[in-house]
């Protein structure tokens, strides 16, 4: 499980001398009895594209609204660029936000929308002119400058909202589900545009999303939230390959979870999970107490499906193909094991469909190595 950290050039979180641009220190936010954010600590670094990911109601939007200044923490401090932001009202913060609803001013043109924040700063006329043109160019909206928001398409509105929030060159840009209103194809295109613009401007982006694919695509780091707490903060690859809990593993992508009792054996763990079947052998990075109840998590693509057991791989189980989901590039097989457990395994369709190896009701072997899955204790 080699962390891709060494390959990455941009990894300020690995460098202890790097100063974070945002620091949450024990931040708690309560609404009446409800605790939206619970004693949260977090560091975000300059130039990051940071994603807050979680189901609705996990506190991610509250966290963002506290950064923008629309909510104040009940406890704890938010330090932005070395300064506690608590006493600073939203209109004085070097932070801009792109709203989920875009919140474009309907009575103003695209140009006036983008210039709104600059005019409030009291910037000179010709400088405003230049800055708005620059933003229009960046978001490819030049020919729509004179239009009103209701005269342009959804994707264009999204770009106006982005241009408007970037116009003041904020230290930090907050994006609240920025692509939620777009259809899938446009969303994918826009994700790459966002990354491009983030790189060009060098602004620190914090994005709130419930779409794990979106977070994985755009973010340098992802924070998975649940019930007001951070469950894991890591790079997309880190979150996917080494989730620290069943919650994260299950939230990001597809995963098979097998419960069992662990018996440590050198640097390996043997997990007894079904009577009469061989224990699962897996490597574990952290020490596990003998007899501990553990979850073994393995992604479908890490399992190799074959007709004969593959002796190269440490784990081999036999089962029967119940379902095949054909997705074009890959096929996912739902296989029932002898003890009734269902396991998903996906295989790349390297061959044409007519020559596919397995079909419904076939007896197959599922094989995986001792490093393919993860042993999770929570």
């Amino acid at each position: 499980m080699a962390e891709p950290a060494q390959q990455k050039v941009f990894a300020p979180w690995e460098d202890p001398s790097e100063k974070p641009i945002i620091r949450f220190e024990g931040v708690t936010k309560r609404f009446g009895d409800f605790t939206a954010v619970d004693k949260l600590d977090l560091k975000i670094y300059r130039g990051e594209f940071f994603a807050l990911l979680g189901p609705s109601g996990c506190g991610k939007t509250t966290l963002m609204r506290m950064l923008a200044g629309f909510e104040t923490p009940t406890e704890g401090h938010i330090i932005l660029d070395g300064q506690d932001v608590a006493p600073i009202p939203p209109n004085k913060r070097p932070v801009n936000m792109m709203f989920q609803s875009y919140a474009l001013f309907p009575h103003l043109t695209v140009w006036e929308n983008i210039a709104f924040g600059l005019k409030r700063e009291g910037m000179e006329k010709d400088k405003i002119e230049a800055r708005v043109s620059e933003m229009l160019r960046l978001t490819r909206l030049e020919q729509f400058a004179k239009r009103k928001p209701h005269q342009i398409s959804g994707g264009q509105r999204q770009r106006v909202a982005l241009a408007r929030s970037l116009a003041k060159a904020p230290k930090l840009l907050l994006l609240d589900e920025p692509l939620g209103a777009l259809d899938k194809k446009l969303r994918q295109e826009t994700q790459f545009e966002l990354m491009d613009i983030q790189e060009k401007t060098g602004t620190t982006f914090v994005i709130v999303t419930h779409d794990q694919e979106e977070a994985m695509t755009v973010a340098s780091r992802v924070a998975v939230m649940d019930h007001g707490k951070l469950v894991q903060v890591a790079t997309p690859a880190g979150i996917y390959e080494t989730p620290n809990s069943v919650y994260v593993a299950d939230f990001i992508g597809d995963v098979n979870i097998i419960e069992g009792a662990a018996t440590p054996n050198g640097d390996q763990v043997e997990i007894a999970w079904a009577e009469g079947l061989a224990p699962i052998v897996a490597k574990s990075s952290e020490p596990i107490a003998p007899g501990a109840k553990v979850h073994f998590a393995i992604r479908p693509e890490k399992i190799y499906v074959s007709r004969e057991p593959d002796m190269e791989r440490a784990n081999r189980v036999q089962g029967k193909v119940i379902d095949i989901a054909y997705l074009g590039n890959i096929s996912t097989y739902r296989v029932r094991l002898a003890n009734g457990q269902m396991i998903s395994a996906s295989m790349t369709n390297a061959r044409r469909l007519s020559r596919r190896d397995f079909t419904w009701e076939d007896e197959v072997w599922l094989n995986w190595t001792d490093t393919a899955g993860l042993v999770l204790t929570r």
Partner: protein, 272 residues
């Protein structure tokens, strides 16, 4: 829409409308009567309208009414809009329910009581009755109507627009002036028109708060009728009906058309 109405529907519709509009229709018809006697039809004429224009008393009263209407409805619009904004946007501050109840209470308060209490107030603070007192009284009783109209618009207003303005560095006043007000403006205008119309035809409160030099048209008409209905009064009343009708229709058209268009724009401004 083109459903054929049954005889029952036609009858009830006719009865209802006759009940509502027959008296006014008769008034309008008799305002074009050539005869000096109100009850005898003597052919069509616009003579009484002409005479109205030369009657200085009526013209003075009309001028007073107009000034009172414009000034009081302007004050009522400012106060009513401010009240609506605070009540809708202020969140759950202490005493909010009490305040909103108190704003709307004058809607159901008998006019006689409003008039009487204002009269007592003016006497106790030693304010001479005249145009100023009528303006104050009319502002008082029309601002709640403005507040109702504006607050119903504000409730459907997307609050993230104001947050966006704040986020972009606007002060609270700027965000109201540059974002909220332009968007709710049609509702504010229709509130003003409503207040103006109400001020125009108020008799009870005006008669409590007016002085000798400040007779409004409704007071003038009322006192003239006590000496007998003249064709001139019919003509004047017809003119007032026309003005009020134009005011009410414009108010409803402004609010309906513009609010609908703006809602569409606002929706478009958000999502598709």
């Amino acid at each position: 829409m083109n459903r054929k109405l049954s005889w029952f529907n036609v009858t009830s519709l006719t009865l209802g409308f006759a009940f509502l509009y027959l008296p006014m229709l008769i008034l309008i018809i008799y305002s074009f009567n050539a005869s000096k006697l109100v009850t005898v039809w003597a052919g069509f004429s616009t003579r009484w309208y002409g005479e109205l224009l030369h009657d200085q008393q009526f013209l003075d009263a009309a001028w007073v009414t107009l000034r009172v209407g414009v000034i009081s409805s302007t004050f009522a619009t400012i106060l009513g809009t401010a009240a609506a904004y605070v009540l809708v946007r202020g969140g759950k501050f202490f005493g909010r329910t009490l305040f909103s109840g108190m704003i709307y209470a004058p809607l159901v308060m008998p006019e006689v009581i409003t008039g009487l209490s204002l009269l007592l107030l003016f006497i106790s603070i030693g304010l001479d009755r005249g145009i100023v007192t009528i303006v104050l009284a009319h502002t008082t009783f029309t601002m709640c109507y403005v507040s109702v109209v504006v607050s119903s618009r504000l409730m459907t207003f997307d609050q993230s627009l104001e947050e966006a303005a704040l986020d972009l560095g606007a002060s609270a006043w700027d965000s109201f002036r540059l974002v909220t007000l332009p968007i709710i403006f049609p509702a504010v205008i229709s509130g003003w028109l409503l207040a103006f119309t109400l001020s125009l035809d108020d008799l009870v409160i005006a008669s409590f708060t007016s002085g000798p030099s400040s007779t409004t048209l409704p007071i003038k008409i009322f006192s003239a009728v006590r000496l007998g209905v003249s064709p001139e009064i019919n003509a004047l009343s017809t003119l007032m009906i026309a003005i009020v009708a134009i005011g009410v229709i414009t108010a409803s058209l402004v609010s309906k058309g513009a609010i609908k268009r703006q809602r569409e724009e606002e929706l478009a401004g958000n999502r598709t």
